[in-house]
């Protein structure tokens, strides 16, 4: 990794010192040590740039992030705007548990009342530093030793969402984690952090939303660690609807144990430059993951989904299905890596990426990569990029449907299977509305 030595690295060190992240009296020593090591590691690694030898970041240039002096705010102020924004988001909070983080820090005022489920902890990390499971897991899944953004997030871990579901527990209501960036005069950086642990035989629906109150320029550098015990089942939704001037680097690291299931549906609608790292290790026999994703881009937006599935055990399955709709001069990348290790026989894996280009200036990149070391496996992939089907359009027009509506129908049809894979009905219809809004802006 090339190092872009810059003033901003130094600036992060200053923020680190000023926030007292290695000296805070109230924080446990292990945490302070983890932060300090991460800070050191971030400085050693430096921001990844697209220079040669940096294949992982081939499609995404983080130069603007590296050269901007983002400020890490000490404490956000709760504003009426935040409440209003959440209200407008249109969720009825009785139907789910809501954890709201303002600039990365827990906001009890904006969150639902304390969730009390036997054997479970659902709340802010900052109130659970001493829990053995937190200490034993935080920072062990997400690789801060090799990845600068993860190191930076870990160095600035002050709070975050903790969802720890005890064994044999089915959480009935979905849990919605909302990371909201508030309004600042400076350009700020936030480090949203999430730790999800499902013990054996438990299940939950968890959603992560990343958004902002105003259309400001900021960096959201998020890390989620997800640990799934034997025979547990997690539905995970990630909704990214940042400001149009925002940068977002998100890393989600998932560990699946025996017969566990992980299904993720991601939707990237907002932001200026977005990079998602979704890494799953399918590390138990008969474990399976389904990773679905949707991105709709316009203007100069850039969205890069970097998805890695590591089949480290035999008899494991994975399905990846990412679809994009690109307008204007927007660019996207889908980099899908599948690793099947030497002893991982009978793995069944399929990856697909399809893009619909609404403009001749938009650019979709697909880069599949397979490292297969076992010989008795099924592994396939498919990719396509193309414009709207003219014959299909004519078919709709010939039935009297106005062109704008016909185009919208075809585009929505193209992405419908991703949205349909959301099992939480409330979110599904919310997502349909958000997609509708975005497309109506794009189709004129």
């Amino acid at each position: 990794m090339t190092q872009l030595s810059s003033r901003s690295n130094h600036a992060y060190r200053l923020h680190f010192e000023n926030l007292g992240l290695k000296s805070n009296q109230g924080d446990p020593n292990w945490l302070k040590l983890l932060r300090e090591q991460s800070m050191d590691q971030f400085e050693t690694l430096g921001f990844p740039t697209e220079r040669k030898g940096n294949e992982e970041w081939k499609y995404t240039d983080v130069k603007n992030i590296a050269t901007t002096n983002f400020v890490i705010p000490s404490k956000p102020t709760l504003t009426y705007a935040a409440e209003k924004h959440l209200k407008q988001a249109g969720f009825d909070e009785h139907d789910f548990h809501r954890l709201v983080f303002l600039d990365g820090l827990y906001s009890p005022q904006l969150s639902s009342e304390d969730v009390k489920i036997k054997g479970c902890t659902i709340g802010p990390l900052s109130q659970a530093w001493n829990a053995p499971a937190v200490r034993g897991t935080l920072g062990t899944l997400a690789n801060w030793k090799d990845h600068a953004f993860t190191a930076l997030n870990t160095a600035f871990t002050r709070d975050g969402a903790l969802i720890h579901i005890g064994p044999n527990t089915k959480v009935e209501k979905p849990i919605s984690i909302i990371f909201l960036t508030s309004q600042w005069e400076e350009k700020i950086a936030t480090c949203p952090r999430t730790l999800i642990m499902l013990e054996k035989n438990s299940s939950a629906i968890i959603m992560e939303t990343h958004c902002s109150i105003e259309e400001t320029e900021y960096l959201s550098n998020a890390v989620s660690e997800i640990s799934l015990g034997n025979n547990s089942h997690l539905e995970h939704y990630r909704l990214q609807m940042h400001s149009k001037d925002a940068y977002h680097i998100g890393t989600t690291q998932v560990l699946l144990r025996q017969t566990s299931q992980f299904k993720s549906v991601s939707a990237d609608l907002g932001g200026k430059l977005i990079r998602n790292n979704l890494k799953t290790e399918v590390a138990g026999e008969n474990a399976s993951c389904i990773l679905n994703g949707l991105y709709i881009t316009n203007g100069n937006q850039h969205v890069d989904n970097h998805v890695t599935i590591d089949h480290s055990q035999p008899y494991t399955n994975s399905r990846e299905h990412f679809k994009g709709v690109l307008g204007d001069k927007s660019t996207t990348a889908f980099q899908g890596s599948i690793i099947i290790r030497k002893n991982s026989q009978k793995v069944d894996s399929y990856q697909e990426n399809k893009n619909l280009l609404l403009s001749s200036e938009a650019e979709a990149n697909t880069k599949p990569a397979f490292w297969i070391y076992a010989d008795d496996v099924k592994c396939g992939h498919g990719a396509s990029s193309g414009e709207l089907n003219e014959d299909a359009l004519f078919y709709l027009l010939s039935r009297g449907i106005p062109e704008k509506e016909a185009r919208a129908m075809l585009i929505k049809g193209f992405i419908s299977e991703i949205i349909a894979s959301v099992e939480w009905d409330l979110y599904k219809s919310h997502l349909e509305n958000l997609v509708e809004d975005k497309l109506s802006n794009m189709c004129g």
């Binding site: 299909a392 010939s398 039935r399 009297g400 062109e403 509506e405 016909a406 129908m409 992405i415």
Partner: protein, 251 residues
């Protein structure tokens, strides 16, 4: 005034002249059949009338209900009461047949100044019509033409026709690829939908469907021209002797 009047129509596609002077006049209540060998321009005529992009009229005129339609968009022609049943209806993933039909149906109603039908009311309307064409209601919840059998595709086209209630239906080979039973069903359905108020222009390669849907006139299209117009007997003549006589006479 005829419902459709085509006068000396020349059409080119990708710079290639396909239709070279077609004349045709259809009155309300009539059924006309267009027959011809492969490549004679039958489907081109159907697409041209429906307004497909890339089909260019280089000469001649097409009047629908007295109005020149050549400059109109396909959706405008549909709203005037023209309907094309496709020979090969396109599959559209993610778009449900009922939602697609409701969108078309409502755009026609909107054009006529009538209130749109909500999904519930439209469903009721659909129920009546799916029985008429011999489909199942559940079929309309599937994506448009996706994994439909050949017969189901043809019936789905007729279902759309029954919902849209067009004044002119252009049926492009509604009989192709059907077995005897499906052909009879499709033909009977066309007969049911044909009234004294509307007209049918039936494009076909074979005479057999005309045993059920009896045409008022049969036009033989060869190399982009109508080389012969006659009664239904003309179709029997084709069945017995083939198109060769016309092709030879023409060249």
């Amino acid at each position: 005034m005829p419902l459709l009047h085509i006068d000396n129509l020349h059409v080119s596609v990708d710079g290639k002249n396909i239709l070279k002077g077609v004349n045709l006049s259809i009155e309300r209540g009539e059924v006309h059949a267009i027959m011809g060998p492969n490549g004679s321009g039958k489907s081109t005529l159907a697409y041209m009338l429906a307004g497909k992009s890339g089909y260019k009229a280089t000469k001649g005129s097409v009047l629908f209900d007295g109005q020149d339609i050549l400059t109109l968009l396909p959706e405008e022609r549909a709203r005037m009461g023209m309907f094309l049943s496709f020979q090969h209806p396109v599959e559209i993933p993610g778009v449900r047949l009922d939602q697609f039909m409701r969108a078309g149906f409502n755009s026609l109603r909107k054009h006529r100044g009538e209130p749109e039908l909500d999904p519930l009311k439209f469903d009721r309307l659909l129920k009546k019509n799916v029985e008429l064409v011999g489909l199942q209601q559940a079929m309309t919840k599937r994506f448009v033409n996706m994994n439909f059998s050949g017969g189901e595709k043809k019936k789905s086209e007729l279902l759309q026709m029954s919902i849209m209630e067009p004044r002119l239906s252009i049926l492009d080979e509604p009989d192709s690829g059907l077995d005897v039973d499906a052909l009879r069903d499709v033909a009977n359905c066309i007969k049911k939908l044909h009234t004294l108020e509307n007209a049918v222009l039936l494009v076909t390669h074979y005479q057999r469907i005309l045993n059920y849907v009896v045409p008022d006139q049969v036009h033989i299209l060869v190399d982009g021209r109508v080389v012969r117009t006659g009664s239904k007997d003309l179709a029997h003549d084709i069945e017995a002797n083939g198109y060769e006589q016309y092709e030879q006479a023409h060249t």
